[in-house]
Structures are given as structure tokens and as C-alpha cells.
């Protein structure tokens, strides 16, 4: 079962304490959790005794000092350990995954699942992203959540989340991944509903968890099917034998992959299960940055990339994946055009970019999908953290004069660049990255995905050529919209005149060091992070500085051992991919076109929107016409509510009140009543009359006599 890992791998690479990487965040959770419990007990005692409980004794409560060091501390240690292992793996030239099995988890009958972790290039990249970006966000949270009484609880949950996410990406089999899958769903619920005393926020948490659950059903069904086919559910076993066992494009593999797709749409917020992500903005902003931008939502993409072999064997499913991805990308982008809450814009932007990742893995460009995942983690986390800094500042300002405005509404902002220059610069860098402008990170990743879609459309034996051409066009359209709404966000927030109010504006200030240093680091990654996966064509062209800029195709080569099986299957069945886009023209041409178009969209938006006067939120009119539909998210939530939620509620009401209470309870009561009736009949024997009793004696005597007499 672990044959590949137990033998000496080719590079003879020994990972250094990989289990500790997972355990460190868990330890952080335990310590912070214990602290949170004791703090809660103290405050509960005070509340019960009717005392005022001011946790902010002397400005900084005692309960805050330990989590400040433990929370980011374990993350830093985990990151360093991951880095050491990463460097080790770099030098090891690994071709088979290294599997460390710790104990046997399930051993019943045919099924044997070990608690094992698998270290290969894919999981290593994911671990770097999770621990690295996670660490930066932990540091940011120290500043952001300073004044919150739930500080230790926050870090406990955040550490627990990282633990589960690491389990997800490091697991060596689908059940282990599923543990992580469920666990991050749980932590997402806990963190979204962090301020649970507000009903809306708690409901948002519930929504996220319940919608995720629907996806989990798909995951489980897929595991069951795989078990039926292979009698094993670990990666090495399944992927090793997949080609031999499954028919290319057959019904079984298509079903399995479609179930996995269902799970991925739930976790990664694609159509039809994306509805929880915008609501998830109810949680603290660093949570949105970590979970709903950089890590948890990428779990779906990771699942598909990990199961690349299975998806390569099912071209129909891959087409569906790509289709859902590009539709979601376009759909979410349209909604983001008209949102006024800064976090909502970013939320829909996340959904849209996840759509791009799905498009990438759907057309078989697994490396491109992972690449976009990585760059997206950088710039989206940066955007969210920047928005967090802005909101933090706005809260302080509005709090001072107790103005009742929404601190997250962009119409109440404006001109913030004078007050928050560092945030302004870093967020612009992220915006340029996400808009896909050269030479920032997003350009290379998004471009590669769009290019591969076009290439797939022109492949030799591609089954759905026309379809992929449509995908390509839609992807380009969504890219333009991305540039527009991001520029709109920047203009409304940072440019123009300040609309918050003159007294409030005096209290607007830059974020503290714990908050802007992570921003800076992420900004640097957003600028240069894309230079690790640039194809040869691009590198040698103007877009690569004619070979002078330090770009390379390193990521592609790095992930090759993981994706080559899938690529081989793809090449064998689909033939060679095209070298020109459907409308003609090579990679470089389209790269230039897209960056120029994006840049012009940004510039035009800055000019047009910058000149316009934006009313503040309380004075703004209701949107009309088509804007109204976009602002109300195409009424999807209302649609689901009417056609899915309400019928279910009605059904359960009927089942509960009628079937359960009347029919089933009635049947049980009937049995009881029948017993009572029989007893009543029996009680009629008790007449209280001596004569009757004597009569029954006599009957008894008769019976005995009869038995004795008639026997002999």
C-alpha cells in the first residue's frame, strides 16, 4: 500500500519532521483554546455576578499577550520547517511521492486506510502557500483584532483552521483529505460566525457550513465509488491503477469526477454552490483573507489537481469543470460591477478568480491552475488585508463621532490615499496584478490559463472544440470586467474627495506596523511572484525582457512529476494542442493584447469614475433597471430560497407535524391504547361479587378434573 514510499526514493530525500508541521498549529489551537476557555469563564462569572467586565484592563488585557506570541509563533515555526523541507525537496529531484504513515486508521475487511501524509511537489507548494501567507495574516490579525474580547478564541480557531488545511493538502488518501475538508468547513463556520451574538453573522456561518455539506456529499459518493472499483482509496493506489481500470470517458470515471466536481464547487464557491462566499464576509477581514481568498477556497482546485489523472480520463467532466469555471468567472464579475461594499466586491472577485482556476484545470492546464492559485493567494490576500486596514481605519474614524455610517461602504470613503499611503500603494500593486497587467503576477497566471483554453480549442482530437472557443471568449470578457471593477474599487476608495466627513477624517490614519508590514511583503510577492512560471516563448519576447528579466519556467518543471501522468493521458487521447489562439495569433501577441486592453480599461475607469461625484451611502438612490439586477446578485439567493429552501422547510414541517406527530406517534399510542383496552376488558372480571369468584373457582376445578379425568 505504501510501496512507493517505503522504498528509498530516487533522491533519497528524508523529510524533516513533516508531522510536526501539522502538529504545530494544533498545539497553537490547544494553548489558545485553553486560554480562551479560561478567559470566557472569568467573564462569565463576572456577567453572572452582575459585575461589569472590562477585559481591556490597562489598555491591553492579560489574555492577549500569550496568543499574540503563540498564534503567529507556531505559524512561523511551521513555515520555517516547511521551508527547510522545501529546500530539501528542491535538491532531491523527487519522482515518486514520499509517504510517511503514522498509524493505521481504518482496517476493516478490504479497506485499509492509514493515517499517512504524502509529500510531493504539489503538496509542498500548497504547504508553502498555507504556512507562508497564513503567517503573514496571523501577524496582520494581531493588529486588526487588538480590541476584540474574543482575541484568544480567534487565534485558536485560526490555528485550528491551518491545522485542518495542512491535513487536507498533506493527506495521502482521500479519507484523510476529507478529514481536512470537513475540518476547514467547520473552522470556516466558526470564524465566519465569530461575532455570533449578531444573528446575521451567525446565519452567514450556518449558510456556509450547510452549503458546503452538499458538496461533501459528492466527495463521499466519489470515495465510495473509488473504493468499489479499487478496494483502496489512497492516491498511490488509485492513480497508479486508474488508467488500467477505467475506460477513457466511460460512465464510471465520469460519475466519480462529477461527484468530485460537486464537492469542489461547494468548497471553492462555484456555480451552483457559491452563495455562501459573499455572505461569509460577515467574518473578520483577516479571516476572509486567509480562508476565503488564499487557502480554503482553493481546496476544490487542489482536489481536482490532485485527481488530475481521473479528470484526464474523463473529458466530459473536464469540459464541465471548465464550463462551470468560466461561467462563474463571468457571472461573478458582472455582480462585482455594481456592489458598494468593499468586501463584497472582493468576495465576488474571489469567486470569479476561482472560476479561472477551474477553467485552467478543466482544460488540463493543471500547472496553470496551481500557478493562478498561488498568485491569487498573494494578491487577493493583499487586497483583503488592505481592505481590512481601510475598514479598521474607517471604524476608528466613525467611532470617534459615533456616526452611524457603514464603515465598509465605498460610497462613504474616498480620497483615502492621503491618509493611508502605504495601503494605497500596496493595493494598487495588487489591483494591477489581478487585472492581469504585465509584469505583475496575475498577468502571467491568468494569461496562461486563457492561452491554454485557446490551445485546447484547437487541439487535434479535441471533442468539444467549439465549446472551448466559447470558453476562451468568455474568459477574455471576464478579464476585462475584472480590470474594470477593481479599478472602480480603487478609485472609489482612495481617489477623489473624502466623503467620510471632515471631523471624522481627522481620525483616519495609516495602519500600525503589524498590519502594513505583511501588506508590503505580499505586495512584493504580487509583483514578482509571477516570474516563476513564464513559458519560453514569452520569456524570449518583449514580455520577458528578451530574456534579460530573471524569469523562468520553474513551476512547470517542479510540478511535472505530479502532472505528467495526466498530461500523458491527455496527449494520447487529444493529440497535440494548438499553437495559436482560435482567432489566430501566438502567445506573445495575445499576451500583449490582453495587457494593453486591461491597462486601458484601468486608465479609462480612473478618468471617468474619478471625475464623477459619488453620493454617500445614506443619500444614494436605489439602483434601477439592469443595475438593480446586478446589485441584487441576479436574485440567485431569492431563487434558491423559493425553490430549494422553502420546499425543504415545508416538507420537514409536514413530516414533523403530521407524519411524525400524528401518524407515527399515533401508531405507537395505538399500541398503548390497545393494551389499555385489553386491560379494561380484563378488569371486567373484577366484579367484587363473591359468587362470581366462587364460580371461577369452580370452573377451575372443572378444568382440572377434566384434564385428569379425560386423560386416563
Amino acid at each position: 500500500m505504501q510501496a512507493a514510499g517505503l522504498e528509498e526514493p530516487q533522491g533519497a530525500w528524508e523529510p524533516l519532521l513533516p508531522g510536526l508541521i501539522i502538529l504545530l498549529p494544533l498545539l497553537g489551537f490547544a494553548i489558545n483554546g485553553a486560554l480562551a476557555l479560561s478567559a470566557a469563564r472569568k467573564s462569565a462569572d463576572a456577567v453572572r455576578a452582575g459585575r461589569e467586565f472590562d477585559f481591556l484592563e490597562n489598555g491591553r488585557p492579560a489574555s492577549h499577550s500569550l496568543p499574540t506570541w503563540v498564534g503567529p509563533g507556531v505559524m512561523l515555526l511551521a513555515f520555517l520547517l516547511t521551508l527547510v523541507n522545501f529546500v530539501g525537496m528542491l535538491g532531491a529531484d523527487l519522482h515518486e511521492p514520499v509517504i510517511r504513515s503514522y498509524w493505521t486508521w481504518i482496517a476493516t475487511g478490504d479497506l485499509n486506510v492509514a493515517a499517512a501524509i504524502q509529500l510531493d511537489q504539489l503538496s509542498m507548494i500548497m504547504m508553502m502557500i498555507i504556512t507562508g501567507v497564513g503567517f503573514l495574516i496571523h501577524v496582520f490579525s494581531v493588529g486588526y483584532m487588538q480590541d476584540d474580547p474574543g482575541y484568544p478564541r480567534y487565534f485558536a480557531y485560526l490555528n485550528l483552521f491551518v491545522f485542518f488545511m495542512l491535513v487536507l493538502v498533506m493527506g495521502a488518501s482521500y479519507p484523510i483529505m476529507f478529514i481536512g475538508w470537513e475540518g476547514v468547513g467547520l473552522c470556516s463556520y466558526l470564524l465566519i460566525g465569530f461575532w455570533f451574538s449578531d444573528e446575521e453573522k451567525a446565519s452567514a456561518g450556518k449558510k456556509a457550513f450547510i452549503v458546503n455539506r452538499i458538496g461533501d456529499l459528492g466527495f463521499l459518493l466519489a470515495i465510495f465509488l473509488l473504493y468499489l472499483v479499487f478496494q483502496r482509496v489512497d492516491y498511490v493506489g488509485v492513480f497508479g491503477n486508474a488508467e488500467a481500470v477505467f475506460i477513457y470517458g466511460g460512465p464510471v470515471i465520469t460519475t466519480v469526477t462529477l461527484f468530485f466536481l460537486l464537492a469542489a464547487t461547494g468548497k471553492s464557491a462555484q456555480i451552483p454552490l457559491y452563495i455562501w462566499l459573499p455572505d461569509a464576509m460577515a467574518g473578520p477581514t483577516p479571516v476572509s483573507a486567509l480562508i476565503h481568498a488564499a487557502t480554503m477556497v482553493t481546496a476544490g482546485v487542489y482536489l481536482i489537481v490532485r485527481s488530475a489523472v481521473l479528470f484526464a480520463l474523463a473529458p466530459l467532466s473536464s469540459a464541465v469543470v471548465a464550463g462551470i469555471g468560466v461561467l462563474t468567472a463571468l457571472f461573478a464579475a458582472t455582480i462585482a460591477l455594481k456592489q458598494q461594499d468593499i468586501k463584497k466586491v472582493l468576495a465576488y472577485s474571489t469567486v470569479s478568480q476561482l472560476g479561472y482556476m477551474f477553467l485552467g484545470v478543466g482544460v488540463g492546464a493543471y500547472t496553470a491552475g496551481v500557478f493562478h492559485l498561488m498568485t491569487h493567494a498573494f494578491f487577493k490576500a493583499l487586497l483583503f488585508l488592505g481592505a481590512g486596514a481601510v475598514i479598521h481605519s474607517m471604524h476608528h474614524a466613525l467611532h470617534h463621532t459615533h456616526k452611524d455610517w457603514d464603515a465598509q461602504d465605498m460610497r462613504n470613503m474616498g480620497g483615502l490615499r492621503a491618509y493611508m499611503p502605504i495601503t494605497w500603494v500596496t493595493m494598487w500593486l495588487a489591483t494591477l496584478a489581478i487585472a492581469g497587467i504585465w509584469p505583475f503576477a496575475g498577468f502571467f497566471s491568468k494569461d496562461e490559463i486563457i492561452w491554454m483554453t485557446g490551445a485546447m480549442a484547437g487541439a487535434e482530437n479535441a471533442p468539444y472544440q467549439g465549446l472551448y472557443t466559447v470558453y476562451w471568449i468568455l474568459a477574455l470578457a471576464a478579464a476585462m470586467m475584472t480590470a474594470f471593477y477593481m479599478a472602480r474599487l480603487m478609485v472609489m476608495t482612495f481617489h477623489g474627495e473624502n466623503r467620510t466627513g471632515s471631523t471624522e477624517a481627522e481620525h483616519l490614519h495609516e495602519a500600525p506596523k503589524t498590519m502594513w508590514i505583511p501588506l508590503a511583503i505580499l505586495a512584493a510577492l504580487s509583483v514578482f511572484g509571477g516570474w516563476i512560471n513564464v513559458t519560453t516563448d514569452l520569456r524570449e519576447s518583449i514580455l520577458g525582457g528578451f530574456g534579460f528579466l530573471p524569469m523562468s519556467e520553474w513551476l512547470h518543471g517542479w510540478l511535472e512529476p505530479v502532472t505528467e501522468a495526466a498530461h500523458q493521458i491527455q496527449e494520447a487521447n487529444l493529440g497535440e494542442l494548438a499553437h495559436a489562439a482560435p482567432l489566430g495569433g501566438g502567445e506573445v501577441v495575445w499576451g500583449l493584447i490582453s495587457t494593453v486592453v486591461a491597462l486601458s480599461v484601468v486608465l479609462v475607469t480612473m478618468r471617468r469614475l474619478g471625475a464623477r461625484k459619488v453620493p454617500v451611502a445614506v443619500e444614494d438612490a436605489e439602483p434601477k433597471g439592469f443595475s438593480r439586477i446586478l446589485f441584487n446578485k441576479w436574485y440567485v439567493d431569492e431563487f434558491y430560497h423559493r425553490w430549494v429552501v422553502d420546499p425543504i422547510l415545508t416538507t420537514s414541517r409536514v413530516l414533523g407535524r403530521i407524519v411524525d406527530a400524528k401518524i407515527i406517534d399515533g401508531a405507537v399510542n395505538l399500541v398503548g391504547n390497545a393494551a389499555r383496552a385489553v386491560g379494561w376488558v380484563g378488569s371486567l372480571l373484577q366484579t367484587g361479587q363473591t359468587n362470581t369468584y366462587a364460580f371461577f373457582f369452580t370452573v377451575g376445578v372443572l378444568v382440572i378434573l377434566a384434564m385428569i379425568g379425560l386423560q386416563g
Partner: protein
């Protein structure tokens, strides 16, 4: 003589049982019980001629016990009568469900 005695005893016994079942006056019911006991005594005596003196001994004891029982039973009837003012068994129905 044995068979006839047994038949006689059986008849008296059955008549006594019938009396217990159909009469409502508790004293007459008691009398019928005495009839039953008497019939049983007759059976014992009839057999003692063939089996041994033990039959008659047993009758001796039965009579003794019957006497004691009659005494106590009548005492009970008297104390019930004090409460109910009647000896009609239909009225003694506290045991009715």
C-alpha cells in the same frame, strides 16, 4: 357400599357448589360450604374402610377445622353486618374495579 357413598358424596358436593354460586345470602352460602365439607368427609370415611384408619382421622381434623372456620367466619359476617346492615353479598363490592 363404596361406590354408592362416593356418588352420594359427589351429589352433595355439587349441590353445595351450586348453592355457593347462586345464593346471595352470605349465611346460606356459608351453609353450602359446610355441605361441601360434609361431602368430602363422607368420601374419606367411605374410603377408610379399605385404606385404613387414617381416613377417619382426617375427618376428625376436618371437622375441627370446619368448626373453627365457622366460628371465625360468622364473626366476620357479624362485623360486616354492623357496617352494611345487610347480608346480601351483592352489596359487598369494594373489590370491584
Amino acid at each position: 357400599m363404596l361406590a354408592e357413598s362416593l356418588v352420594l358424596a359427589g351429589v352433595i358436593f355439587v349441590l353445595g357448589t351450586l348453592g355457593v354460586i347462586v345464593r346471595r345470602n352470605v349465611i346460606i352460602m356459608f351453609l353450602c360450604i359446610e355441605l361441601q365439607l360434609n361431602a368430602v368427609n363422607l368420601t374419606f370415611v367411605a374410603f377408610s374402610r379399605f385404606v385404613g384408619i387414617e381416613g377417619q382421622l382426617f375427618v376428625f381434623f376436618v371437622m375441627t377445622v370446619a368448626a373453627a372456620e365457622a366460628a371465625v367466619g360468622l364473626a366476620i359476617i357479624i362485623s360486616i353486618f354492623r357496617h352494611y346492615e345487610t347480608v346480601n353479598v351483592n352489596h359487598f363490592n369494594l373489590l370491584k374495579w
